[in-house]
Every structure is written in structure tokens, then in C-alpha cells.
């Protein structure tokens, strides 16, 4: 396990460095003066000079890269072009809105999708199984940003049940929860389908194993067999799916934040792209990507911890 842990951590670190390299070289691959490109055509010469000094643009490229990596790894992501505030501070203010949305969306999808998949597998070929099957394919096929738009249309514009935009009054938890419902619904919907299908498939496989038959023969209660013995093994591929699919979840979170005007990281990056505020884009992308790498790492380690066979493969 320790060997696996070290190798896996090393791989993640290598990917993080490569991601930083990509983000860094994006700026330098575009022909022209990096400072002018990063700040856009409206930037004043003073701003450009300040940015050039800040980014050490007078140093050789490899030196700039090392400085950038060093700063990024110590939490210094540069400063906002317009307000001169540190990018790290701005991101920290916003990240709560993104994390709460991600957890809420994934949470309700897991609470509904996993039991649904179990039930569909246990009652194979029943009407419940068929409905689950159709619903899964249906929800997977609808792009999440379309779910966001249509949910906004139906529940906020036409029915007026829920607020359309914003994240709620600061400090008012009830209001914030109400503002969370629609975006969380939108980003979680396709995950209900994914999870139900995945759990159903691996459950069917596991329930055919001999140790499940032994448990039956011992006269254990069906619920205990399904959840205590079956799901424990069947959940493994699902954890991998969640880890791998987290990138897609971040993408749909970006859309949901923009459509519902929720002030999270996604909206921050988008607004900064529109305002040509490149330091914030760079920092935001780095944080979003780092979050994804972290989740994949956690899911991989979790799997390796639960299933010793996996440790051999790396």
C-alpha cells in the first residue's frame, strides 16, 4: 500500500506540474508580447509594464517558468489586473459557492442513484428495472447545460417556484439553500442515470458470486445481503466512475454557475475571460484542475485501500 501510495502521489504531482507547464506555455505560445496578450487591448502601458515586472517577463523563459511554479506551489497566483488584489484571496472568497454546489449536486445524485441501481439489480426485469433503465439513458443523453436552461425556464420563469439567479443573501442559510436547489438539480440529474446504471451492472455481477449464495444459505436477511455484502463490492467501480467523472461535473458546474449567475469559480473564470483578466483565469483554471486531480487521486487511493488487487497495477 505504501509503495502504491508513493507512486500514485508521484504521478499526481507530475500531472500537476505538467498542467502548470501547459497553463504557462499557453501565454507564451501565442505570438506577441505576453503582457499585452494577457491584459488585452485596453490595458494602459503602465499596467503592462507593471504586469511585465510582476511576471518577471524580463527574465529568460525557463526562469519565468520556475518562478511561476514556485509561486503557484506556495499559493501565490499573482494579482488581479483591475483591483490589484491577490488572485488567491479572490478565489478563496468564491470557492465555497462552487464546493457547496458540487457536493449538493453529487450528494442528491448518489442518494437517489445508488439505491435505485441496487433495487433495479435485485428486482431484475421488473417494471422498476425497466423504468430505471429508460430514465438512466434519458438523463445521460441530455447535456447538463440544457438541463440548467430548461430547469430555469420551467421552475423559475414559468412556475416561479424557485429563484432564478444568485446564491442567496449572505448569512441567510435558508435563502442560500433555496438558491442551491435548481443548479444542484441540474448538475446532478445525469449522475443519477450514470450511478444507477453502474451500480445495477456491477450489482448483477456480484450477486451471482458464490459468497452471496452462501450468505443466502446461512439465512441472512436479504437487506443485509444486498447492502452489507453485495454493495460493498459493487461500489468499487462506482467510486472510479465518480473520480473519473468529476471533470465532467466541474464542466457542468461552470455552466450551472453561469446560467444561474452563481458567484463560484466557474463564473469567476468566465467573467475574467470576458474582461481579459488573465491572471484570474490562469489561477482559477489551476485551482479547478487541481481539484479534479485531487478527487481522482482520492478515489484511486480509496479503491486501492478497499481492493488490494488494484495496488499491483501501477
Amino acid at each position: 500500500m505504501v509503495v502504491y501510495l508513493i507512486k500514485r502521489l508521484g504521478l499526481s504531482l507530475a500531472v500537476v506540474c505538467a498542467v502548470i507547464l501547459v497553463l504557462f506555455s499557453l501565454l507564451h505560445l501565442i505570438p506577441g508580447d505576453p503582457a499585452t496578450i494577457a491584459l488585452g487591448p485596453r490595458a494602459t502601458p503602465e499596467a503592462i509594464a507593471r504586469y511585465a515586472a510582476k511576471m518577471h517577463l524580463d527574465e529568460p523563459v525557463w526562469m519565468q517558468f520556475l518562478i511561476y511554479v514556485g509561486n503557484a506551489l506556495t499559493g501565490d497566483l499573482g494579482v488581479d489586473v483591475f483591483s490589484d488584489r491577490p488572485v488567491t484571496t479572490i478565489i478563496m472568497e468564491r470557492i465555497g459557492f462552487t464546493l457547496s454546489l458540487v457536493f449538493a449536486g453529487m450528494g442528491w445524485a448518489m442518494l437517489l442513484g445508488i439505491p435505485l441501481g441496487c433495487l433495479a439489480a435485485v428486482r431484475r426485469n421488473s417494471w422498476l428495472d425497466r423504468v430505471t433503465g429508460v430514465l438512466s439513458v434519458g438523463t445521460i443523453a441530455v447535456p447538463s447545460f440544457l438541463v440548467s436552461i430548461w430547469a430555469l425556464l420551467i421552475f423559475a420563469v414559468e412556475l416561479r417556484w424557485l429563484p432564478a439567479i444568485g446564491a442567496g443573501e449572505p448569512g441567510d442559510l435558508g435563502d442560500q439553500a433555496v438558491h442551491l436547489i435548481l443548479p444542484a438539480f441540474a448538475i446532478g440529474l445525469s449522475w443519477v442515470g450514470y450511478l444507477a446504471r453502474m451500480v445495477r451492472a456491477s450489482m448483477l455481477e456480484v450477486m451471482g458470486e458464490t459468497y452471496i449464495r452462501s450468505a443466502r444459505a446461512f439465512g441472512l436477511r436479504p437487506r443485509r445481503i444486498v447492502f452489507g455484502y453485495g454493495l460493498r463490492v459493487a461500489i468499487l467501480p462506482t467510486i472510479t466512475l465518480i473520480g473519473m467523472g468529476f471533470g465532467g461535473l466541474i464542466s457542468s458546474t461552470v455552466f450551472a454557475e453561469i446560467i444561474f449567475a452563481r458567484p463560484g469559480i466557474g463564473k469567476l473564470i468566465f467573467d475574467s475571460v470576458m474582461a481579459r483578466n488573465f491572471p484570474i483565469v490562469q489561477g482559477g483554471v489551476l485551482v479547478a484542475t487541481g481539484l479534479y486531480i485531487l478527487v481522482v487521486l482520492i478515489s484511486d487511493l480509496l479503491i486501492a485501500w478497499l481492493d488490494p488487487r488494484v495496488r499491483e497495477t501501477l
Binding site: V19, L146, I149, L152, S251
Partner: protein
């Protein structure tokens, strides 16, 4: 592909002469392969998902290719007095804020989607196949370097990578294509690499090597035909992803730019007037869902029939 039937087309595992028992003649092998082909075709035609998928995909292709003849209006013709109308006999899908016919715009939008999907998926498949085979067949360090590159690309959530790039280059159709290709390559490459690794030490490749065949010949004539099958299925499953990325980026104003009609720009313009009329976001979303559904159904049916093992899990 070569004219002679490869192992892949017959659906048989790779056969080499030593593996054949003496009493089986080549004619018998061919006959059983033909029987299996007929069987698969029957299986496909009786599979309602596959058939529905095929019909939807056919509609997608036909409506995009014949859009100039099918569209009742010029997609950019203005009719200000009839602006923002719901479905009427003159405008079956309503009109937008400038009075342009939404149905005609949807048909022309399909052309953009088809263009991106066709070019994006085929280029990504070819490059992924090539890189995957190189990774699987080449020296260890090259394999590791390529794997790290794939992991790095996959570490970026697609939309986030698009945002980072657009921030520097500005939106364009070419950029959407580039993003689609770069983000799709790793999945093809990984499948191709795994298949190549398993084939690398099979008897018929070792025999070929012993006969003095060059690397290029081995890859092209012997590995490629065996690897390309699963990749084709993956390609069918990749089309909805690509179409969704195009629509999503265009929706954000980062892809196809107005006044060009795309499903994403229709949704974007509809989102801006969502409080005045629901019809634009409804009409803009339906073709997107039907296309996604069609390719998902088709891909899953193909996978279930030709490669049941791949379906495990997903």
C-alpha cells in the same frame, strides 16, 4: 483498411495457422465467420435501441446535409414584425429576437454540429490510434511520457481548458475543433495502447517479428486491424460529447459566433429572451437531445453486439 477480411471484421479472435486444429478447413472457418456476421446483423435489426439510434442518426445526417433544400427560409433573413413568435404555420419552431425562422436556423445549426463532429472525431481517432499504438509498441520511456501527456490533458475539465484558451485567442470555430480533438485523443489512445500491449506478445506478432518485418509493417498490417474495431464504437459514443461541447461553447459565446446559426447560439439568444418567450430554448434544445440520444443508442447497441466485455461497468 485492406480488402481481405481481417480478424476484426469476422469477429473472430486472431487466428494463426498453428492455432487451428487439423480437421478444421479454411472454408469452414470462413463459413462460420459469415454465419456469425449474419447473426450480428439480425441482432442489430431486432435491437430497438440500435434501430432507434440508427434512425435518429440518419435524420441528423440528412437534415444537416440537405439543410439548404429543407429550410423554409434563409437562416439569416430578418422578419422584424414577426419577431419572438411561438410556433405558427409560417414558422413551425417560432422566430427569434430578430424575426429569423428558428426551424431554418436549427437545420443550418446541424451543419455546424456535423462539421465539428465529423472532423473532430475522425482526426482525434486517427491521432489517438497512432499515439496509442506508438505508446504500446515503443520503448518504455516513450510509453511513460505519452501516458503522462494523456493524463495531463485529461486533468483539465473540457470547458475549463476551453475557457483558458479562449481567454488568449478569442472565440472561433477552429478553436472549438482544436479543443475537441485534443481532449478526445487520450481516450482513443488509451484503448489503442491497451490493445496493442496485449497483441504485442501474441504468437502471430512474434512470428512476424521473427520473419524480419519492420515496425511500421507490423503496426499497420497486423496491429491496426485488431485495434480499430473498439475505437469505432468509442467514436460513436464520442459524437454526442463533441456535439455537446460545440453547443456548450457556442452557448457561452466562446465557439461559433453570431450571426452563424448553431444550436448553441440559438440557445444563447433564447436564454437572453427567456422571460419573453420559452420557445427558442425549447426548440434549440430538442435537436441537441435527439442527436445525443441517437448516437448514444447506436453506440451502445454496437458495443453490446460486437464487444460485450467493453460494456461492463459503463
Amino acid at each position: 483498411m485492406s480488402a481481405k477480411p481481417s480478424e476484426n471484421e469476422t469477429g473472430l479472435p486472431p487466428v494463426d495457422s498453428t492455432g487451428l486444429a487439423d480437421h478444421i478447413t479454411e472454408a469452414e472457418v470462413r463459413e462460420s465467420a459469415a454465419r456469425e456476421r449474419r447473426e450480428k446483423l439480425r441482432e442489430f435489426v431486432t435491437n430497438w435501441q440500435g434501430l432507434t439510434g440508427l434512425i435518429l442518426v440518419a435524420i441528423f445526417f440528412a437534415s444537416a446535409i440537405f439543410a439548404p433544400w429543407l429550410a423554409p427560409y434563409d437562416p439569416n433573413a430578418l422578419d422584424i414584425p414577426a419577431r419572438l413568435s411561438g410556433p405558427t404555420w409560417e414558422h413551425v419552431a417560432g422566430t427569434d429576437q430578430l424575426g429569423r425562422d428558428t426551424f431554418s436556423r436549427i437545420l443550418y445549426g446541424g451543419r455546424v454540429a456535423l462539421k465539428i463532429a465529423a472532423i473532430g472525431v475522425s482526426v482525434a481517432l486517427l491521432l489517438g490510434l497512432l499515439l496509442g499504438m506508438i505508446a504500446g509498441f515503443g520503448p518504455r520511456w516513450l510509453d511513460n511520457a505519452l501516458l503522462l501527456a494523456f493524463d495531463t490533458v485529461r486533468a483539465f475539465p473540457t470547458i475549463v481548458l476551453a475557457l483558458a484558451t479562449v481567454a488568449l485567442t478569442g472565440p472561433s470555430l477552429e478553436l472549438v475543433l482544436a479543443i475537441v480533438i485534443v481532449t478526445s485523443i487520450p481516450q482513443y489512445a488509451r484503448v489503442a495502447r491497451t490493445a496493442t500491449l496485449t497483441l504485442k506478445n501474441t504468437d502471430f506478432i512474434l512470428a512476424e517479428r521473427a520473419l524480419g518485418a519492420g515496425t511500421a509493417r507490423m503496426l499497420w498490417h497486423h496491429i491496426m486491424p485488431n485495434v480499430v474495431g473498439p475505437l469505432m464504437i468509442l467514436a460513436a459514443m464520442d459524437v454526442p460529447v463533441v456535439v455537446t461541447i460545440e453547443a456548450g461553447l457556442s452557448f457561452l459565446g466562446l465557439g461559433v459566433l453570431p450571426p452563424t446559426a448553431s444550436w448553441g447560439t440559438i440557445l444563447n439568444e433564447g436564454y437572453l429572451v427567456i422571460r419573453d418567450t420559452p420557445w427558442m430554448v425549447i426548440a434549440g434544445g430538442i435537436p441537441l437531445i435527439l442527436t445525443t440520444l441517437g448516437f448514444t443508442f447506436l453506440g451502445e447497441a454496437l458495443r453490446d453486439i460486437f464487444d460485450p466485455r467493453m460494456g461492463k461497468g459503463r
